[in-house]
Amino acid sequence: MTAVLGVSAYSHEAAAALVVDGVVVAAIAEERLSRVKNDASLPVRAMRACLALGEIAAGDLDEIVFFEDPFRKLEHVLVRAIGGFPRTGTLFARSLASQLGEKIWVLDALAAALEVPRGRVTFGSHHQSHAASAFFTSGEARAAILTVDGVGEDVCTAIWLGEGTSLRCLAEQRHPCSLGLLYAAFTAHAGFAINEGEQKLMGLAAYGTPRFRDELSRVAWLESGALVLDGDVFDHFRDPDRAFGPRFEARFGPARRANERLRVGEPGFARFADLAATIQAFTEDTMMAFAREAKARTGADVLCLAGGVALNAVANARLGAIFERVFVHPAAGDAGAALGAALFRCPPKQPQAAFSATLGRRADETTAWDLARALGLEVSRTDDAALAIARALEHGELVAVVDGRSEWGPRALGHRSLLAPAGPVSVRERLHRAVKEREPFRPFAPAAGASVAAARFDGVSPSLARFMTGVARARDPHDPALGAVVHVDGTARLQLVEDDASLLARVLALVPGGVVLNTSLNAAGEPLCESALDAIAFFQDRPIDALVIGDVIVRRPGAVS
């Protein structure tokens, strides 16, 4: 038996993943357990949870693999500091303090945390870990792989060829010409936090037109399939949290402060929507150029994608024009690289056809029952949870669902989900304003089975829709059954539910229209709920109607079910 633990940390998403003999046993992001959104600290809780799920002692691990090369990263920081001096002055001190104070010793910290010999702790490389996460979970024997990120060590984009159990890097693009950092600059300029607000910018883009395209083409352009950026306009050297400089503002207008209102129809909204549409269109075109390059270099029919930019569902959906099948790892960001690091060391012997994203912990129903009773909530058991949920949805209720093991990656796929009827627009507004407290311009996603998806949507890619990593277009944008889940441009980030035995599939079979609104079980700025305790805390805090954990149904006292 070969057991390998992959770890990502000190980036923006820490995570751990356990692979035994090429089979993924467990994978959890640290934020789910620490309850700190985008927790980047050493994932001690996640590592222990993975070992517990695999029933393996730390001493029995053959290898613990860190997802990137800490020494190459330090080299990149030093080279960047010297090359960009004096602009890099303040950033240099900060970066070096964190590199030499903590990050460079990460392998020692891992050995100490797990109490294993230091010799068992090794490292991979950032993009190699991303590539492995996408290819070895795709179920393909041969594929082109594209890893598109902000920056990992000193690489921003890479093209790989995956064959059997091997990965070969064919081309790399180095810092600072990064599509991820370019998107991050526009995200920060629109007043959203980098590594968190990119999805908001993507949602905002649907309201605008790309009228800044000419302006953008003067500072970012494609040359022989590679991206080139005008370094003077961006400010990654000085402030990675801001990423854009004064010349960026001179060209695209003043930035929005994070606390400034951004509402449809209000002053300023149109400019930021147009800027979002501009960078979104540029991102899609650049991804198409990268994909064409990958196709030319590999001749493969399948494309596997990973890296932060691979979370851009709208861009992913366009890549189907170049490849027969496009697969995006469900945790395409740095958390997913933990799994990739482990899979690279211990790849599956045969391509695994159906990768399951339910790799987290199971919520304890007994705890849920006891806790809800202690809190004076109304608790009951059901022998048909799907029927109970479907009936509640028919009555227009919002139902939190905790079913089995939690999902790997940022999308709720029916295991830590908040379900609602997909038709009424009022449901969307209630969710936006009262439950999720997020920007009203952001869309919610539908979940549907294969036949309903085919009947109501065009351009459904099963491999993308399975993990909500692509978008489909509603056949009728004004379909009353999809009022709460179709975005202003007629698209939806559809989840295709293929496992007929799953709770969500059984709910879909019972609800009228066969489609529900499925959003993640968390509020703004919080990680997804993991345990029964998290779910009950969410239920107590937010105006939702029912919580279903396994066969336990929780309601407020006096509520009529």
């Binding site: 330090l74 080299e75 010297i82 030499l100 392998l107 020692d108 100490a112």
Partner: protein
């Protein structure tokens, strides 16, 4: 005793990492970074000693 074993294990781990750092930076194309790195590591060590080990603090002043 257990603490001593843990401390010695941690020290050995740090020495392994230091070895890996120097091995990484000693290749021809990266050697120009080595002096800068040594100075930074020594400064870091000095800072660590001055804040972490009380009885070393008075001697740090004399170093400057």
């Amino acid at each position: 005793m257990k603490q001593l074993v843990r401390l010695s294990r941690r020290l050995r781990a740090h020495l392994t990492t230091l070895g890996a750092i120097f091995s990484h930076f000693s290749s021809t194309e990266r050697a120009f970074l080595l002096p800068l790195l040594v100075v930074l590591l020594l400064a870091g060590l000095l800072l660590l000693l001055s804040t972490g080990v009380g009885y070393v603090t008075p001697f740090v002043y004399t170093a400057f």
